[in-house]
């Protein structure tokens, strides 16, 4: 690892002043992703500003019936929180589906949101990669891409967002609260991540130096009937090759409302608006579910080695929807 400085401010204003004051300064959450990338030489920050002493380790009820999660909350605490498990089970399941116990004990909500892609070329500094070194090229398109995007990629980059947690947050329309140089901002998760287009190095809409302070989960009573399902290459933990977070409101055999978000298929947690659209007001049947899945996946643009994701994700969606019908 290259040498760097380390600070751990106790007050948000100090943290923001520090990040503004030093070129190459970066926030540090649990470090389970950033330190890993520093070992690989992918990240070379000049200073790390550890944000875990800031007053952001909390899970509290919001006045509107929603839940607010501080950005410093450890992943294991989030997954174990009773209100999360009861009211947003897909979120608890998503967090538990990622990494191992020791890593979840360390990882924070803020860091999880901003973890970087697992594209093998991004992690290997001896290889070109547009995301790591703009305009250097994208070897993944013709090379190793079996776990890269089938939706939302661009000619310059087809990396997937690896976070399980973010998929559940996308389904629940979470709002990310940030402090930016210009002041505080509430960013709906739908506007938080951005597609690579011609700037794959920019993964979010945040201003440089933005500090994530909290994530709000809006009230959604029927989110209690939600589920996260993850497919991976082995039975024990590993990154998803396809995942889905679904919440379903079904009454009298009809879909009243539904939320579907897909993971490991796109550069961002992919909200399946088309599928949702095609389901609302429809009978809650397998046929309708398949049609809904097809409506979304029709737009997929798989490459040579990731075609399997289309049927994989289709079946995950259908299976999960059926389970939620049975559960409700």
């Amino acid at each position: 690892m290259k040498e760097f400085g380390y600070e751990r401010p106790a007050h948000p204003t100090d943290a923001l002043a520090m990040i503004a004051g030093v070129a190459g300064a970066r926030f540090l959450g649990g470090g389970t992703n950033l330190v890993d990338l520093m070992k690989l030489g992918v990240e070379t920050p000049a200073v790390l500003i550890d944000v875990t002493a800031l007053p952001y380790d909390f899970v509290t009820d919001d006045a509107d019936g929603g839940l607010r999660v501080g950005s410093g909350t450890r992943n294991s605490d989030l997954a174990a929180h009773l209100a999360v498990r009861r009211r947003y089970p897909a979120l608890a399941q998503a967090v538990l589906a990622g990494a191992s116990g020791q890593l979840r004990n360390m990882a924070t909500v803020g860091g999880n949101l901003l973890q970087r892609t697992r594209c093998p070329y991004f992690q290997d500094v001896t290889k070109p990669c547009n995301k790591r070194v703009p305009d250097s090229g994208c070897p993944a398109r013709d090379g190793e891409h079996h776990n890269l995007a089938i939706l939302g990629g661009s000619d310059l980059c087809i990396a997937t967002n690896p976070s399980d947690m973010a998929v559940a947050l996308a389904a629940f329309d979470a709002v990310v609260f940030v402090e930016e140089p210009a002041g505080p901002r509430a960013v709906p998760i739908a506007d938080f991540y951005r597609l690579p287009a011609d700037e794959p190095q920019r993964e979010t809409t945040l201003e440089p130096g933005a500090l994530i302070t909290a994530v709000a989960l809006p009230a959604l009573p029927w989110a209690a009937n939600s589920r996260y399902r993850k497919a991976r290459e082995r039975a024990s933990y590993s990154f998803a090759i396809g995942s889905v977070a679904v919440a379903l409101d079904v009454a009298d055999g009809m879909v009243r409302d539904v939320r579907i978000a897909l993971g490991a298929v796109a550069p961002i947690p992919w909200r399946a608006y088309r599928a949702e659209q095609s389901l609302r007001g429809q009978p809650a049947t397998e046929v309708a579910f398949r049609e809904a899945a097809d409506a979304e996946l029709e737009w997929a643009q798989p490459l040579r080695d990731n075609r399997y994701k289309v049927p994989l994700v289709r079946n995950l969606m259908v299976r999960t929807l059926i389970e939620l019908v049975q559960a409700s």
Binding site: M1, K2, E3, F4, G5, Y6, R8, L28, G30, G31, T32, V35, D36, M38, K39, L48, D50, T52, R74, S76, A80, A97, A99, S100, G101, Q102, L103, N105, M106, R229, K230, A231, R232, E233, R234, A235, S236, Y237, S238, I241, G242, E286, R290, Y308, P311, L312, N315, L316, R319
Partner: protein, 1015 residues
Amino acid sequence: MDRALTLNGVEVRFDVEPRTLLVDLIREEFGRTGTKVGCETGECGACTVLLGGKAVKSCMVLAAQADGASVTTIEGLGEPGELTAVQDAFWEEHAVQDGFTTPGLVMSVTDLLSRNPDPTEAEIRSWLDGNLERVTGYHNVVAAVESAARKLKQGDSWKIEPEVVAGDMVGASVRPREAPEMLRGETDYIADVTLPGMVHAAILRSPHGHATINGIDTSAAAAMPGVIGVFTAADLGFVMPLPVIWVPTDVESHWPPHPSGMVPGGQSLLATDRVRFVGDQVAVVVAETVQQANDALQAIRVDYEVLPAVVDAEEALKRSAPQLHETVPNNLCMSAPLGDKAAADAAIAAAEVVVEETIRNQRIMANTVEARGAIGSYDATTGDYTLWTNVQPVNPIRLLIALYVLGVPYNKLRVIAPAIGSSLGAKGYLFADGPLMLWLAKAVGRPVKWLDTRSSYPRSTPHGRDHVAHATLAGSRDGKISALSVRGFNNLGAYPVINAPGSPRTLIGQSVTGAYDIANPYYEANLVFTNTSPTGPVRGSGRAEAIYLIERMIDRYAGEIGMDPAEVRRINMVKPDQFPYDNHLGWMYDSGDYPGALDKALEMVGYDDLDARRADSRARGKRLGVGIGSYVAAAGVGPSAIMGSKGLVSGTWGSAYIGIEPSGEVSVTTGAQPHGQSQVTTFSQIVAQELGVPLEAITIKHSDTNGALYYSQASYGSRSLSVEGVAVYNACQLIKEKARQHAAHLFHCPVDAVEYGPAKVFARFAPDQAVMTLQQIAFTLWLGWDLAEGMTPGLEAKGFFDPPEFNYPYGTHVAIVEVDEQTGHVELVRYVAVNDFGTVVNPKVVDAQSHGNIALGVGQALYEAVRYDETGALLTDSYSTYPIVRASELPSFELLRTVTPTPNNPLGAKGAGDVSNPPVAPAVVNAVCDALSDLGITSLDMPLQPHTIWRAMSSASAGGAAGSGGSASAGSGGSASAGSGGSASAGSGGSTSAGSGGSASAGAAAAAEPAGAAS
């Protein structure tokens, strides 16, 4: 900047660079080496500590992040000298073998139980996924967690007095004696060894599979801070390449040369003009710190000219293939026949049924959580060299380095192995790094340490298996096998490893008939060099390839003749009245009831009663499959003369020294080298049984060439107990004999009248009067005041054992799997193993060996594969690219042991270390093939990852769809139950068109959903 944290309850201050990792702070600054490093990427969990009371991986945390926090390491658990409930449970359940991963596991489990006092087995296994383990198969670890949970609920009442073994010591599951210090993190492994004045080496390895070296510029590196020296082959002078010491003498063979002219040559310590695999050693930097050595490595400029490479053994034999060694035409080291080819050919020509198949046993690696390391030191005043290194055979390595590498007198070299964090065979070689550290120590005048890393491991340490066999099996329609003919190809990699070239014909070839009476067997061993890492034994070596081959062929044959594979096995197995049985290829099977073990295993799984289970699985969208793996595996290497006749230049006898101290304690030095097999425990049990002394009075010494044994072998090939243990037994007899003789002299009676009782000798005519304790006998013998004529002073003995024959453990394993029709994912749902290891000294120790063997075999069947691309680039160098099996991927194992003593040693014990690995992979693969048989799938190549299965299902169903005429579109709408209709009749023909309409649509549905486990 000055920081502080509370380490194990004590506030400590530290001032380190921010880039210092917490694990390095703990180990290097504070000297708490109980916390281990296994991977540095957050996968293995060996570095787990409690941070603020919660388990974290300390290799992923910066020291600075722990500023102000409380950190608990393994050393900080419980009261000094005591064990916590968790530690005690690990001890009690034999959840500790080599101990390297133990501290991390204990810390992790401590956290689990603090937040979930009542975990289910599934919860335990899923939590344990954060800790990789290579030898326990997690079986006893899970049991330990359950036991710890119970203990924690009992308050302090679990703290019972140490167990007392009533009756026989041999046969008792006494707790492993080596475990408590491992559980407290007090055991030192190579990473934990530090010498005064020590400096650090980093080795530059070839990034190319094949290249010539046009020049090396070390000047920039040499000028970097902290660098003491940078060395290349040009500096090494008369240092020789590694030797090869197992060369069959009756066949033509071709080798890289060795300057001694006595033996063939292997890898050079540093490559001269050419590199032949990714990992070949090119240069070495010595610097004050590891970091400085690594930094300087980046500054060495090597001018490579990349050459075409070949990575596949059969490809390498083609005329156009790149040539690796001038002295080896066509890359063929040797082609060695075994058996009567003409007879086998004739039997095949005459047979009713002939099955041909190519059986691939993929390249795997031991990938032990502890990597390797070496420290060389040199005393300029005496000329003495000392090598600390975590290898299995310290004495053989001492001999080879002295004679064939450095050319120094045998008595000027001492080799010491600290505790070894398991080997799985791959720490059993002479490596180029060990002698290199010795040479460097002399060159720089200070001790030099090299420690491997996870990503470098596959470049530094030989791999295993990589065996392709074209097999032909012939038999009758009613299930009797008449011939087996095999052309085997072993990919040796770029260089021959000391003992590896002898193994293919002996350990694979001689073993290919497995547990069966096959009249006409023939095996041809072809050993080929390629641009890949050298290969050699990995746990189960040789016999694993052979058993995989024959067990797959048996299932193929059974499918072909439409007979139950269990019945085919029963018909062909060697029967109990056939012993000693000559298998026509060189083995002389000793004893057993092979069909009996098969029937027991089948009974345990309810083999005749699985239809309901199959239907139940099918209803859940899964296909159930049952697979059998029966085996016989030669163990107890070995009769020296027989091994010599096969070309091994090494005595393979066992040896032990026993000295009875004047104060009565017993000191034993064994030629075995424990690295997870608990020989300190089992050998103590033998001594306790034979001499009647308590375990606590017995010390077992090993792993240091400056011990009481001048030369010895080591632990490998399931030989420790049945060869070295017998030597201990024999030494005990000598001790007893001498004690009796001395007593007879003191009692003034004939020796015949004196008996040895528990820790005493007495005259039969006056047992209460003419009696002396062992201590008294030893004391008087050491004093030597009153000795009989010709009696030597002292009570000590060297026992040897050169077995007359190998011994042959055997058994049958059965795997039950479920294959997910929608994802292609294989779940191992049950694993039953019936083994016979002859007489067993410590049942729990032996069962724990089986757990490790099963886990490794399952890993090979389902996950593991070393991969190269066609340029020779290595693609698998981490625990994410080379996955090893985790806790939640295994069920609890169901073990049964039968006991048929071997007549080949006085203990009746057969080998148990690696012999129960060979049946595992075939049992699992047979099970998966069984699950997919109605799709017409008869063979699949390991590892059976979801996408492999998906592809097979997809092409089988494509054939089926075509065959059933236009049902292809059924796939998209096909539901999980679609296949059940057609599956009953399918498969009998064994062709791709066998799928009827029903199974074709199920296949298409399945094919539409590849790759993965869904949760």
